[in-house]
Assembly symmetry: C2
Homo-oligomer: 213 residues x 2
């Protein structure tokens, strides 16, 4: 059955791989599934046809036969459960990998998005400079805990999994701020993720969309 | 195999059910699994023994035989996958329910936590009053989308699922602010969740811990 995902026709990051379709493309490449992409404009994302697929008017969505999914975490988990390559075989290890998926999205990403809010969306607000240190402090505390757990391991729990795919994707958003570089082990972990051939193909595919004339 | 979760020895909310162990207790009650609780102090949560279970020093954790899980979303999903009562039988409907779990935690909860940050953690900061309207505006936009999708349905997608358990739990955090009441259909949805006998048992169990002399 053909898999179709949606992505920005022009990503706000211009193709740096930070739009969330990159996470789904990466998962599809890891499990070796071909896919089609339907590009959506910022305007069309808020219209009824797209809202029927994604209640919050975002990308990516996932269509496969009659199945429609939204939320990157759910799409990656669906792929990981139905194809080999993103979850270990043993039941306990699978559940732990899923813990890391949720940790990436619900525990590590929120303070990273707070930084994006503070530095970009609220950059011109009168409180921006005074508030930034507080946002950075909370973020560094969280990253310090992640760094302590990862230690010198290659991946979060045994071999590469959907948990790492999501954590690397979330941490990548930090790079433009310079904060990732403050944690050399996390920076090296992210670099290992980016070095995977599946990530490289996913990145190239989203970049191609964003650099078309 | 005995299931053991961790919870605050004294919850910061004093037993209003907002601590995340309530979500896991609710799931355990829905699937009819007995469980033990190990209470942890705020101080002990940051010590090595607890950090070995939960890298971010939080509650709840989940232990079952040799398996250790953290992240509420992962624990609830684990229970839902291994016991009847929280996911529909049909594969597509199961995947959609998981979409709603991720939507609750990654799309709806972040702007709710932003409000908690603005109203509580940053309440005494000089920018608090000026920034609050912006935080509320973002939150109301997100809730409006959720309200539009739910419409007059009882639950988000067919029968009650782990997606509803998580969404109701996330929305409950809004009630003290008064914002939930601005969306009567969402408020009624939350009330339907709270009325479930399994939720009532979970709420009573966490309250009992927090009102012991």
């Amino acid at each position: 059955m053909t898999i179709t995902i949606t992505a920005f026709d022009r990503s706000p990051d211009g193709g740096k791989g930070l739009a969330r379709d990159t996470r789904v493309r990466w998962a599809l490449e890891e499990v070796g599934q071909p896919y089609d992409v339907r590009l959506v404009s910022l305007r069309a994302m808020k219209e009824p046809a797209h809202l029927a697929l994604h209640p919050f008017g975002q990308i990516p969505t996932y269509e496969e036969g009659g199945l429609v999914l939204f939320e990157t975490g759910a799409i990656v988990l669906h792929l990981a459960q139905h194809h080999a390559g993103l979850l270990p075989a043993e039941a306990g290890a699978r559940a732990r990998a899923v813990s890391w998926m949720f940790a990436a999205l619900n525990t590590v990403e929120p303070p990273i998005l707070d930084l994006v809010t503070a530095r970009i969306h609220e950059a011109d607000q009168p409180w921006a400079a005074a508030r930034l240190p507080l946002v950075l402090e909370r973020l560094r505390a969280r990253l310090g805990q992640l760094d302590a757990r990862l230690g010198d391991a290659q991946w979060l729990d045994g071999g590469f999994s959907a948990g790492d795919l999501m954590m690397v994707s979330v941490l990548l958003r930090l790079r433009p701020s310079g904060v990732l570089a403050e944690f050399p082990r996390l920076a090296a972990y992210v670099a290992r993720g980016e070095a995977r051939p599946a990530y490289q193909r996913a990145f190239a595919a989203q970049l191609e969309v964003n650099t078309r004339p």
